[in-house]
Symmetry: C2
Subunit: 358 residues, 2 copies
């Protein structure tokens, strides 16, 4: 296997020199793009779009034809794994994801088993292979999964929640049951990410969307511990190339040191932490990915450029270790041409900074 | 003025020795109490309850008759100030607060003026006086306000928001307009809190519920700067007694050092930070208030006791500088008898720790 023609994304994660600061955007294939909305309409529903490899491939590539992005990310939903466990994922308009059979009973938790990713999640692997073929080695493809704790939040609550009351009650009252859920889920996620790697993913990212809502002690025990187990079980190299892993806990800025210790190659950062401070704290151990507030993209182009430059300036000198991204998924209300400004600014300004360094 | 008979709360904030670790609970007068629901029903609506000093006094005292709490907090809404500015506060069942006239137009922002707290917010001051009389010097009364940034979020968005898109767009696109809103609001809050102090509040707290959603740089410029201005303008002493101030930015754990620098007496902590770590970082400058996850109160009494003890153990030795609280408002679904367990555990266990220290 040879590296993609534009391998700046992989180089940054592996701390090899880069020509410019690579960037991609969380949720870059999404509702802010009219072409995405058109495909989704054709698919019939969000879930049908996720489960159709050809259409998932189509939307994965859409942002790459519009913008000069340095990586593609598999288009999928974070709840495919619990769906494959038999919880019955469905979506209701305007209410987000729900499960027909949330995990509440002890017998159901005891019965939970890890799904075979090549069986129940075959459509994801087919999507990965198809996207790789379509990318034709232009840029790397990122595979991903939700973290065990984040998946458990949805599995126990049965959908989104404003307070995570049910999952927290289980953590404090029946930690044994929560550990059982997290353990099976961690095994499932490890197998799922490894199957994505075997199918062609060239880097993987774990999204811990809700770990930041835990106490410091509970985060270590119920979220980080299981991400560590996953990272330890990941395929580290394929066809002679290292497969880097990125761990992103939204709201995890207080715990960067312990996240950097679990063996991953990079940390995702939300926008609440100064990236220069994050680099001083953990930059000797891991690469960093982030971290512009997605809401900056609602400002005028000159303001977007100024804020993007601030992130690059704050990261500071050096030609590697930084993948530019937003601090959270791009909003569905983002004007598509504002993304052009962001992409061009990051590429151009980071090249200027590299010249200054020399 | 003499101090209340139980002045442990004030002593802890001022770093004077205490008999036990004092505690009160954010939103302690609220929907989890059946007697509160009864009074609210009688009042007709939440807003009518807030605007009726006799009823506001009644619900303020309700948790104190049930539990051995060390402080009372004025029952009111954080949006009284923008309501007094003429934005037209109203509540719709299940949807939270809304404004009839959100601040969106430049002319409206230019026209914004600080309300006279003794005129448009007379009902709050009447409530404070009435509560003080009813407390009869048993425990101290805390006054409070929302922070300028948090109030601005509601004022610009027109209600709650999942992404604060409008307020962030203004921050990045028209910082001049946002600064104008924040400046008028900071003046309003200063006058409002000073009027509460003149009317009898013995400590004040600023709730910055949404500052934690800002980037590190934007937090300094758009939230902290204005809280600093308020703290600088507060009445520091009344009748020979210091009036302590508490500043609480939910999600502000990364910024404790800079918050501790604005001249307040104490920091409120949410549950995501270990209180022992917070003490090591800023305990030499300020007292700390917090920080049990409110969801712990859904666990069984023995688990509640164990988690409360962990917070006290983590704070560590010494007989002052800590006010026990939740890391956020108590949930409306909390079983009232679980609060009894919490209050008794904190009092008893903190007395045991004080004996051990000696």
């Amino acid at each position: 296997m040879t590296r993609p023609r534009n391998d700046n994304f992989l180089r940054a994660l592996l701390k090899e020199p880069t020509d410019h600061t690579p960037l991609w955007l969380m949720r870059q294939a999404g509702r802010y793009l009219p072409e995405y909305c058109e495909t989704r309409k054709r698919a019939g529903s969000f879930l049908q779009l996720c489960k159709n490899p050809a259409m998932a491939c189509e939307v994965t590539l859409q942002p790459l034809s519009r913008y000069d992005l340095d990586a593609a990310i598999l288009f999928s939903d974070i709840l495919t794994v619990p769906d494959a466990m038999g919880l019955g994922l469905y979506f209701t308009e305007g209410e987000g994801p729900k499960f027909e059979r949330p995990l509440r009973e002890e017998w159901a938790i005891r019965d939970l088993t890890a799904p075979d990713p090549y069986d129940h999640l075959r459509y994801v692997m087919d999507g990965v292979s198809e996207i790789r073929r379509a990318l034709d080695n232009s840029v790397p493809l990122i595979g991903f999964s939700g973290s065990p704790y984040t998946l458990a939040c949805y599995m126990v609550e049965g959908g989104s929640s404003s307070d995570y009351r049910r999952v927290k009650t289980m953590i404090y009252d029946r930690p044994d049951l929560m550990h059982r859920i997290l353990s099976v889920t961690a095994d499932s996620v490890t197998a799922y990410l490894n199957a994505q790697i075997e199918s062609g993913a060239q880097a993987v990212m774990i999204f811990d969307s809700w770990g930041g809502g835990l106490s410091a002690a509970a985060y270590q025990e119920f979220s980080l511990q299981y991400m560590q187990r996953i990272v330890a079980g990941l395929i580290k190299e394929k066809d002679g190339e290292r497969i880097p892993s990125i761990v992103f806990t939204k709201g995890g800025g207080l715990w960067l040191e312990s996240i950097a210790d679990i063996g991953c190659d990079a940390l995702g950062l939300d926008w609440t932490i100064d990236i220069g401070e994050a680099r001083r704290r953990v930059g000797h151990k891991v690469a960093l990915q982030g971290n512009l507030d997605p809401n900056v993209l609602f400002a005028s182009p000159d303001k977007i450029a100024a804020e993007a430059k601030k992130v690059l300036d704050s990261y500071g000198p050096g030609d590697t270790g930084h993948v530019f991204n937003l601090g959270h998924g791009i909003s569905q209300f983002t004007p598509p041409d504002h993304v052009t400004t962001l992409v061009n600014t990051v590429h151009e300004y980071s090249k200027i900074l590299r010249k200054k360094d020399k």
